[in-house]
Structures are given as structure tokens and as C-alpha cells.
Symmetry: D4
Subunit: 209 residues, 8 copies
């Protein structure tokens, strides 16, 4: 068990047999398992053999927890923020990862730079989070705007959404690395998992204090 | 005379002798001359020979106009917008270019993404411009934010300000090309001249209407 | 309604359900809707449900206007220019976007750098436009040539047409950003929509004056 | 005051006059000021006028605090980790930033991947930190190794140290973004300030809890 | 026969007919043949015509040896090292290439940077190899760690495993080229064949001595 | 003597002593010597020792020919073409190289894409050349335009003139490689020597026929 | 008719209808037509309608000539050179293009850098060509070697053959642009057509003389 | 003592004081010290304090050995190969590193691809080496040619020599990584030290056997 958190399996490029054999080894000693980047087809095969697992279609996560995901009002929460439909896949990977790791998550999914008033409508709730995960493709400007408005850490997740000179997410990645707002750190392109995991580590510190 | 505008000399990499010989040829047939990217040393030599020229130290422009730069209240204006000290050089190159070309310019020079409330304080004046030139380095997110708030064309000028993964302005350039706000077009890195020239072409159309 | 123009939906990567739900929300409050980058399959599904919409196969646009697209002789026009067959898809995305936004458009679609006399044959009509959208792939030299011949703003649209060292449109993009003709600004690779939208903003200014 | 922390001035590319005028404005309303990327020459001029400021030569930081930097045994600490002499400049920028922001810092400055036993000698002290800032140039592998050994968040700071195919820090940056250890997020190349700032935000959450 | 080793056919992009005609020419004069990057489909066709050949599915190698692959205890061995399932394909291409070339190989396939203790568990066996081939994707840090612990040559093989900012293996490649551990040289991305071939050349020197 | 042409010394990065020792060895057996990329300082030292050599300041060539450079009306000529002052250095390196190699050269040095009428004024003379060398920086569009107008081979030479997104000549290089005009081949950025040398090889073929 | 040569149609990305309509227009006024980058499927459709056309499967060329391709002993010849099977497609595009344009071609298709003796076996015949087209993928070193051995112009054609750090032909392209052998110019990646066309222009000059 | 070899100090970016303090610590426990990338100025200061050290001006190495560098006829040797003057600096760094590490070195320093006959003149001596270090800038083709002619391992060292599209050594680096000759592995650009160190490791294995 790395870091007091469930072990994570990187599902991409693994056969169903490989995934199942790894998850069975983990299940024997842990109370949670999280598998990322699972294809629909592999998910079906896994759940057929292990019906106690859940597949989240949008985020391509498969997980097993011995306790249901709930929202614990006595603790703080993570804000997961994105501009809309196009980045949902990655935002949900972040949000659900954090929930599987035991954190509260509030989702703000219609909060883009091009229509900035929607961000201000939600600002109070965002500012009260312990940490924000901000997901953005194309020009990736949202973390800079959020970072200038909140006083907690921001984990920025660039996505590959866009075309042409976005160069498969490079544009959003560079934007986020060069943000002139303080308090922003960045994970790999499309790495919603990394966004959620880092946020959960930080949120756990805030809860433990 | 290209385009009904004064002829422009690209000063970079030319000797003082080359610049002077070109400007004398132009002066013989035009009423304005604009020289860009002139070093301090070259500017001094030019003005020594041609004291009717003016050097703007911050923007590295040297120009001659047979009429003073004034603000004509009967016309619209161009908004030139940047976040502050670091981008002034390029913003002034845009603003002064547009003024030499005969346009009204309003400057908004403390209006960054990291302190977005200052942008909102000035929003009304920005929205009433005919066209905006938005200059930004580092992550280059400002044109996206402005573009979402105004309904006129935005010329985005990336600058090379920053370090590391800004890759000499590539970061801001890609951000601007991938903006999800509509109505933004982009010129070369540090090309304040291009920003001002394009804005002036558009502003002239708006005045002529 | 952003910018006094119909709202635009970015169709790429959205499911038919997502697109339809967004367009129904917009239709409830607007008089035009434009959806970009729609696959043939999605277009058919949209039109089945909403037969008042039109699909343009070549440009992958789906739109609804409560008035037909007409050419209004009392106003100026936008020139949309490209070299031929290969760039038609992007050129039509620009032209039709501008028409949906209410502008007159003249198309110049056989006007390449390699056979420059055809450009000169049409030069007069091009020079009388209020603004040009110049679409080019491969080496992307056409906007520079046009920009040197006209005195109105040029919106340059690089395309990904070509192979090898065009690096999916990077070649044409860099060409256009570095143009030594004044009055050129650039949008993203294959962003015909952006070319048409920017031109329409400028053309509207010219009409309003 | 952004984020309950002292305001930060980005010193690079600003004149001494510009820096002094900004810091005097801040001093009038804050109790701390931090200026980054200050040249030796500018630092001397600032301190001549404001002798209450301190210059750290190795980190190029200039700061003023109304209380001395001390180590508060009742709180947790940030681990700042690097391999040695070459990365000291960036590591100290991170460490001192965090100290100016009021955090405890422990420095681990001889802990590289090539001599991994020295890392293991210090592992216990590193594991007990609330958060680590790991600074590395060349191949940038150290954050991955540390990240696999600790269960707190790791802020990875790539440096431009190296030559040839390090491409001015790109190599270390990509390494860190692709780390297969969980719990790592990344800031810009040579951005020790960002590493220290993010760590301080997290450490403050851990203290407040 | 180049280099006293069997001739190698590069199978990628060749038709079955081309491969068979080349291998028949070689078989006529050599005692071994090795074909790399063979698709399943081509392998089946080759073996149908030449049943004395063997296809290794995971490594996409097809080979023929007039003697079985055995482990010769009287000689040294090559260590082939990787972190796990994802890099197996390339690691096996290296290992089997070296075996076809007549070398002893020991495989260490669960030895990643993120779980570094497993590397230390096997360290003694790794240190006694004549040469190591270290295969890694994503951040590619493993060769640096191994290189710091062994005193024999390390051939580093970057793989394209990963996503986003790994840029199809560029990340791991740059990491390995910039390693601060001495004694590491690098082959092309996914070039397990090259890793195995170079190791075999070195191992042969060690045996001949 | 390679290729029936004088031997060439690449002067860059060589000490004066190294250059002189190489040229003396060549002089002993050849009738011409050409040294490229010679600094002013090195040129002075060379000529002091070997006053029979000539230094061309603008092209940084040093050469010795036992016959003066003349224009032989009985043969064809090479056209060397560029847009103006900024590219002169490279254009002259091409032109003078070809002359040292014994060819006739006609220079067309005010013939840019932005003022295309000047190109048409000279078109007849350009079309009658045996081969053209077209030198261009910034967007590098000139070879495409020339290539579409002539029926002889065009050697395109990109220069590093420009800034920002020209990326030190990459922009012009890619433009030229992707030209849609047939009959264009390309040499390295700023390689005027290569342009002149290739043209001379072709011109010699045309003369010999 | 451009350049006294048949008109060329760039087939990629055009529909069969578009190609046929263009070729019919050309056929009406020319005696040869050449279409490049034609898919098998399109070729079949073209030939069904126009059985006087020929499809070369390996080079993806479709052409029509009113005279058969023959070898004219009274003229010189072009050498087309590559290392083997993998680059045949591009080499044949060059060779057949030159033949359609009326030139003699000799093919040297087993002449790689890795087995350099085969090059020397053919050296005499290569040296007697008027011009060489050298096609190479992977490291692209062959043009440098050939260029050092011949005294006629070399047109270098990089191919995208290879994997990993060849970056789709970038590796071979850069190699060829940086060749230290004189007399080499370069066309786009996989541009066999350009190689053949340039060679034909030069060969024609040599014949006319 | 790593790997039974003297400890190496990376001199670049270290102050004289830092270097001296490190070398004194090493000298206390080792019998050899090697410092790489030392500036002339630092070398003088080191030798003033430690006159038992030697500075090699061309390779920027400073070293101390308790035994003189000699050539031991009873052992094999390393071939260090390059094309000439421009690459000497890196080649000597490789050669002297290997000698300091106790190996025999034979230098072949006039053996380029452009004049390949000089390579064949020396081929026998090169083929009898245990391992070759091949240093090349510009197009970097030499290792491929050598690799095809020898049956021992080749360590390829790209250099940054060249200009334009060599992109500071990237061109030669990619060439070497993509070599189609087997038995080549690559180190960082300008990393002569790495070339010599790897060769020494291999040569030692060959001697021990
Ligand atoms: N083809 C396109 N290329 C670039 N931006 C677009 C395109 N189509 C729409 N957009 C922008 O995307 C916004 C809508 O995005 P969305 O909310 O995801 O539908 C619009 O307001 C436009 O600014
Ligand atoms: N060294 C640094 N690297 C990156 N960002 C910085 C640095 N120093 C200051 N900043 C950011 O720049 C902002 C101040 O910029 P400015 O207004 O130009 O002084 C601060 O709020 C920080 O977010
Ligand atoms: N997988 C591989 N990766 C890189 N080079 C290879 C590979 N397989 C074979 N080669 C090289 O390619 C040469 C044969 O190429 P070919 O003549 O095209 O079959 C061999 O001698 C090897 O040097
Ligand atoms: N300016 C130049 N650019 C590229 N290659 C050159 C240049 N000048 C000379 N060369 C080549 O470099 C070779 C001589 O290099 P070297 O042996 O280092 O003196 C000549 O034969 C030319 O092929
Ligand atoms: Mg903040
Ligand atoms: Mg807008
Ligand atoms: Mg114009
Ligand atoms: Mg961890
Ligand atoms: Mg080692
Ligand atoms: Mg032509
Ligand atoms: Mg030659
Ligand atoms: Mg070999």
C-alpha cells in the first residue's frame, strides 16, 4: 500500500488477463482498488469476473471500495472545475479518483474563461474548497483565472481537447506551466487521475491538520 | 504608399546608413515615415541627421509625421491592453504605431489575469472600443478573457516575457491561437507593430463605415 | 448572446445528445444557431430531430437561421480566397460562417501562389472587399502575396493540407505569423470558423461605420 | 494581499526604479514583501534605499519581513531536496520563499539519483515532512524516486542545468510530468519560487488542519 | 555475415513475399536468421512456409537458429531490466535478440523506480551481470538509478509507453540521454532489438576477453 | 580536388592558424581556394600573410583565384534573388560563391513578396537564367512565387532573418520544403554557400550540355 | 503548361471526380498528364474511365504519355539511389516521374550506408550520371556519402521510414540539410516526385547545354 | 569510488572554490580524479593550488593520476574517430577520458563521410579496436558508416558543430539514434566524456574477459 492510499493500476495497454491477475493480488491485501484508463470492453470483462467492482464510463475508471462513496459534511471539500462538455472525461477522472480516495468533491462544470460570469457566480463555493483541480483544454487559461481568485493550492490539468496548434494538449500544458498566478502546479496532459490524487493528498493533510 | 498608410521600415539588422538612405527616399514622396525596432544608438544617429523625427525609447519606434499625434473625440478608439510593467515595451509599440497611423488609442496597462478585478473596473471603457489589442506574455491568457467580454475584434499579441517553458513566447502564442473565445486573431511574438497596424486598419474601416 | 452574434456550438467531441440538448437551449432564446465540426452522422441525427437546420457537407457546419442567406448589394463583402480543391473544406467553413453571421461573401477559389496570374485576374474584385480571409496549406504563402496587394485587413487561415515537413499545418502557420506584408493576423490551423467570424466582426464594423 | 500571503514582485526585466516604486506601494499596506529574480546590481540599489530588506545572493531573492525567519518546532516542515551544487540556486529560491512565507524548511542538498544511498540515509527525515519540493536538472529523475518513497505531496521543480539534449530544462520537465509515481505535480523550469510557494500553501493547510 | 552475428532483417513495412525472399537468401549462407518487427499475420505466413522458424508473439521476433537457446553456466550473463507489464514487449525484444545471438540473459521485470525496494532485492544479481539493458517508458528514470548502482555498461532503451507529455517516447529518450550516472548509452525509442544487439556485442567481448 | 571545383574550407570555429595551414596545403595543389564564414578579424590575419586573397565583408567569404571574376557573355547566368537589405549577407555568399566557381551571376536584390510588382518588372531577366538561387527570411515565400514563374531549377535558401515565431529560420525552411511550386530544392538555413555551389554545379551542366 | 513539362496533379485528398475533371481539362490541351499520390481505389476508377492512363502501384503515380517510356542511349541519365525495400515507394516515385518527364533513369536500389561496399561496386555508373536522386529514411546518411563521391548535383529525398526518434522523417530531413558534402539540396519528406522533377529539370539543362 | 573508476566531477557551473573543495575530499580517498568542462580560468586556479593536476586545454579536462598515461601494447585499444578540426574538442574529451581511466586509445581524426577514402585507408586499424567512439557534428553520418564496417560496439557522440537546421546538435543526435547499422548506442550532444567512459567500461570487460 503506497502512501496510505489504495493501490492504483494503470490499465492502458494491459490485457484483461493482466489487469485481473494484478487486481486479485491487490484485493487479497487491500480494501480498495482503483484501475485507470480502462476500455469499455475490458471493464465489462473485469466486472463479469468481479461484480463488486464499479465502472465509470465517462472517466474510464474501474474501482472497488468496501464502503460507498459519500459526502462527509464534517470535512472540507475539493473543487473540481472545468468549462464544459468537452473536458468532462478528464474532470470526472479527477473527481472520482478523489472520491475513491475518500475525499469530498464539489463539481463546477460550466465555468469557462469565455463566459467568465459563470465562474463568478460560483466563486464563493470555489474559494471555500481546500484545494482546486482545474481542468482545461484548448488555450488552458482557466487555472490562471481561478488561481488569481483563490488562496488555496490549484492543481492544473491540461487536456488534449482542441485541434491544430493545440498540438494534442501542448498548448494548454505550456499555458499552465507559465501561469503568472501563484499557487498553481501542473500534471500531465489528460492526467485527471493525477489531478485527483494530488488534490486528495492535500485535502487529507488539511483534514488531519 | 502601401494601403493608404505611411510606409514602414523594419529597422532590425539594418545599418544606420541603410535606414537613413531608405527613409530619405520615402520622405521624398510620403507625409509620414515609421521605423520599427530601432536601437537607441541608431535612433540618436537618425535624429541627429533628421531632427524632425521622434524616438520613443520604450517602443523602439522612430517616426515622422507632418501633424502632431492628437486624440480626436469625434472618432472611436482602439483599446491597447496589458497586465503591466513587463509587457509595456510591446504594448507601447502597438499603441504608438496606431497613433502614428492616425487613430485614437486608450491604454489599459494594469489589467492582468492574475488580478482580474482591475480588468472589470475598466470593462466599460474597453467594451466601447472599436477594436482591442491585447498584449500578454507568460501564459498569454488575457486575450481569451477579454475576448469573452467584448463584442469587437481582438488582436492578440504574444510576448516573449517569461522563462523556462515559455520557450521565448511560444507558450503565449499557442494559448492565443487556441483561444475558445471567438473573435481573436494573432500576430507574431513581440510584434506590437503588427498588433497596432491591424487594429488601425480595422479602426479606419469603422470610422469610414 | 455573445457579441451580438448567434451563439456557436463547438461540435467536435460532443455526442449527438449533447449537441441537441445545447442547441435546444439556445434556440429557445436566439434567432440563429451555428454548430461547427459536425460529423455527417451527427448532422443527419440533428436534422432528423430539427429539420429546420441545414447541413453543409463540405464545411461540416450545421446551422439554423430564421432568414435565408442572401447577398445584399447595398453592403460591402468579404473575400474568401484559396488556391483550390484541397483547401475548400476550410475555405467553405469560413465563407459559410460569415454568411450565417449576416455578411456578403465573394469566393475566390482558384487563386494560388504557384499560378499567380489567376490571382491578378481577380485582383480588382479582391481589392474592393472590406476584409479578406486567405486560406492556405502547404507553404501557406498566399496571405503574404494578397496582403501586399490589398489595403484592408487580411485574416490568414493555415490548413493542415500537405505532408512531411508541413507537420500538420505548422509550416503554413509559421509562414503566416512571419509574413512581411503588414495587415495580416492569423487564426488556428484549419480554423475556418475563426477566419469567418473575425472577418464578419470587421465587416460589421465597416457597415456600421 | 493575494491569498493571505505577502505580495510577490517578479523582478526580472524590471528597472530598479520600477521595483522600488512597486515595493514602496506594497510596504505601505503589507507586513512582508518578496521580490524574485533580482540581479545583484538591482539588489544593491534596493537595499541602499531600503536597508531593512535582505538580499540572498544564491537565490536572487530580496525580501522584507517584520519578523525574523525562525524554525518553529511546534509545526511540521517542508523538505527541500536536490542532488547538489548545480541545483542550489533553484533549491534555495524554493526554500527561502517558503521561509519568508512563514514555514519551517529542512534542506536535503546532497541526495541525488546517481548516489541513491545518500537519499536512503535521510529518508526518515524526508518522509516526516508535510510536503517535499524536489529540485532536479539534467534527467530530472529525483522526484520520481522520492515520490515512490513518501506519502505526502511532492512539488517537482525542473532546472535548466545540463547541456545538449536537456534543451534548457525540457528534459527534466518532461520527466517530471510523466512520472509514474503518484502524488507529483510540477512547476515551470527553474521556478524555485513556485515550488516554495505551492509547498507553503500546502504546509499552511496541514498546520491549520 | 555482418559482425560475426546472424544477419538481421528489419520486418516492418516489408511484405511477406519480400521477407521470405530475403530470409531464403540468407538461410542459404548463414546458420541463424533473425527478423524483427514482424506482424502476427506475417509470422504465420513465414512459419507456414518455413516451419523451422519460431515466432515470439510478445516481442514480434521471428528467428531460426540451428541450435536451441540454452543457458550456459560457464559464461556471464546480460541483465534485462524493466518495471513491468507495459514495457514487456520491448524488454523481450531485447532479451530474445541477445539469446538468439548466443548470450545468457537474466530477466528482471518487476523492478521500477516507483517501487524501488524491488530493485534493491535483486541488486546483487544485477550487479554481477556483464552488461545491463534497462527498458523504461514514461519518465524513463530507471537507467539512471541502475547506472548509479552497477559498474558495468548500461544500454538504455526508452519506450513509447505513456501519454500526453511523453510525446511518444521523447520524454524517456531525453531522460536517458541526460542521465547524470556515468556508463549509460542510449538506443532509439522502442528499439529493444538495438538494446539486445549492443549488449550481446559487449557480452561477447567480455567472454572472449 | 572534389568535383572539379576549388576546395572549400569551412571557416567557422577554426583558428586563424588552422585556416592558414589548411589553405597553404590546398594552394600547393589547386588554382583556387574558397573559405566560408570567416570573421573580419580572421580575414585580416589571412590577407596579411597571403595578400593575394580577397575578403568580401558582406558575405564573409575569403578566396583566391588565379583569374579575375569576369562576366562571360557567351555563357548563361545564374539569377540570385532576394527581397532586400536584410538578406543581402546570405545572397552575396551565394552569388560570390558561384562567381568564384566560374559562373556568371545576375543579382536581383529588391524583389520581395510584399511588393510583388518589382518582381514582375524583372521577370524576363529572371526567366532567362539557367538556374535561380532564391534567398528569403521571415515567411520565406519568395521561392514559391519565383518557382511558379520560371521553368528552370530553383535553389531555395532560407535565412534566419526575423524574430519570434520564425524560430531562427525554421519558418522559412519549412515554407520552402513545402512549396507547391515544382522545381524547388532547399539547402540549410543561412547556407548561401550551398545555394551558390548547387547553382554552379547546375549552371556548369547547362554550359557543357 | 508549367515549365515546358506536363502539368502535375497532386492527387492526395482529392475525390475521384475532382481528379477526373481536372485531368480531362488538362488532356484537352497537353500531351502528357501526371497525377501523384493516387490511392489504388482512385487509380482503378480513373483508368476505368480513361484506359489510356497507366497506374504504377508501388509509386502511386497515374500518368498518360502519348509516347512510351524508353531509354535514349544518346543522352545522359539520372541515377536514382536507395538502400532497399523500405524506400522503394519513394524512389520509384522519383524514377518514374523523371521518366514521364522524358529522361533516362538508372536505378541503384541496394546501395545503403550500412553495407557500403555495394555502393562502391556501382560507383562508376553512379558517377557518370548527370544528376543523382538519393532517397533515404531512418538516419538519412546516404546522400552525404554519395555527395562526397560524385561531382554532379545530388537531390536528397528524406523518407518517413523508421520509428521512434525518426519523428516521421524529421531525422533524415535534418541529416540531409546539414550534410557536409557540397552539392546537395533537399526536398520534402517522402517527396519522391520533387526529387524526380528537380532531377529532370537539371538533366534537361545538361542535354540542351 | 563508483564502478572501480576514479570519481568524476562535473565542472560546469561550479565555482573554483566548490571544485577545489570537492576534489580535495576525493583526493583524500582515491588515486585518480577527473574534472570535466573546466574553463581555462578555473583550470589555472586549480593547478595553482594543486600543481600535481594536468589541464588539457582542448578537451577542458583537468585530472590527476598517480601514474602517467602510457600505451600498454599487451592490451587492446579504443578507436576514437572524427572528421577533423571542428570536432576535435569533443573527440579529445572522449580520448583523454578513456586514457585517464587506464585504457589504450588510438586517434583517427581525419576520417569524415565527405572524404570517405581516408576512412578506408585506416579501416584495418579501426576494425581491430575493441570498441569505437565516433564523434560527429552537422549531419552526424559517420557512426553509421563506421558501424557498417566494424564488428565491435560503437559509441556515437553527436556534437553541436554546425548551424541552422542542425539545431545545436539535434540533427546529429537524431541521425545516430536512427542508424540502420547495428551495434551503435548514443550519448548526449557534446558528451565526449560519456563516449570515453562507456568505451572504457567496455574495453575493461574485453581485457578482463
Ligand atoms: N470550429 C471552431 N474552432 C474554434 N473555436 C470554435 C469552433 N466552433 C466553436 N468555437 C468556439 O467554441 C465556443 C463554444 O464552445 P462549446 O461551449 O464547447 O460549444 C464558441 O463560442 C466559439 O468561441
Ligand atoms: N520567479 C517567479 N516565477 C514565476 N512567477 C513569479 C515569480 N515571481 C513572481 N511571480 C508571479 O508574478 C506575480 C507578480 O508579477 P508582477 O506584477 O509583474 O510583479 C506574482 O504574483 C507571482 O504570481
Ligand atoms: N527493429 C530494428 N530496429 C532498428 N534497426 C533494425 C531493426 N531490425 C533490423 N534493424 C537493422 O536493419 C538492418 C536490416 O535492414 P533491411 O535490410 O531493411 O532488412 C539490420 O542489419 C539492422 O541493422
Ligand atoms: N558555409 C558552408 N556551409 C556548409 N558547408 C560548407 C560551408 N563551407 C564549406 N562547407 C563544406 O565543408 C567542407 C570543408 O569542411 P572542412 O573539412 O571542415 O574544412 C567543404 O568541402 C564543404 O563541403
Ligand atoms: Mg491563488
Ligand atoms: Mg468576443
Ligand atoms: Mg496589405
Ligand atoms: Mg508518493
Ligand atoms: Mg554505473
Ligand atoms: Mg518553376
Ligand atoms: Mg559531390
Ligand atoms: Mg557494426
Amino acid at each position: 500500500k503506497r502512501q496510505g492510499f489504495p493501490e492504483i493500476i494503470y490499465g492502458e495497454g494491459k490485457t484483461v488477463e493482466q489487469i485481473i491477475s494484478i487486481l486479485e493480488a491487490i484485493k487479497a491485501r487491500e480494501e480498495e482498488v482503483l484501475i485507470t484508463r480502462v476500455t469499455e470492453e475490458a471493464a465489462v470483462a473485469i466486472i463479469k469476473k468481479h461484480p463488486e467492482f464499479t465502472y465509470s464510463e465517462i472517466s474510464h475508471l474501474v474501482y472497488w471500495k468496501n464502503q460507498p462513496i459519500t459526502y462527509d459534511e464534517s470535512k472540507g471539500y475539493i473543487a473540481v472545475i472545468c468549462a464544459g462538455t468537452s473536458d468532462l472525461k478528464v474532470a470526472e477522472e479527477a473527481a472520482l479518483t478523489a472520491e475513491v480516495l475518500g475525499c469530498n468533491v464539489k463539481r463546477f462544470y460550466d465555468v469557462g474563461v469565455a463566459g467568465i460570469h459563470r465562474l463568478f457566480d460560483q466563486l464563493d463555493a470555489i474559494q471555500h474548497a481546500t484545494v482546486s483541480v482545474v481542468v482545461a483544454g484548448m488555450e488552458g487559461a482557466l487555472p490562471s483565472v481561478v488561481g488569481g481568485l483563490v488562496s488555496h493550492p490549484v492543481i492544473a490539468v491540461p487536456t488534449s481537447i482542441g485541434y491544430g496548434a493545440n498540438f494534442h494538449g501542448l498548448s494548454a500544458l505550456l499555458t499552465m506551466l507559465n501561469s503568472c498566478a501563484s499557487g498553481i502546479s501542473v500534471v500531465n496532459i489528460d492526467n485527471g487521475f493525477g489531478g485527483g490524487y494530488n488534490a486528495a493528498l492535500i485535502d487529507r493533510l488539511a483534514s488531519k491538520g
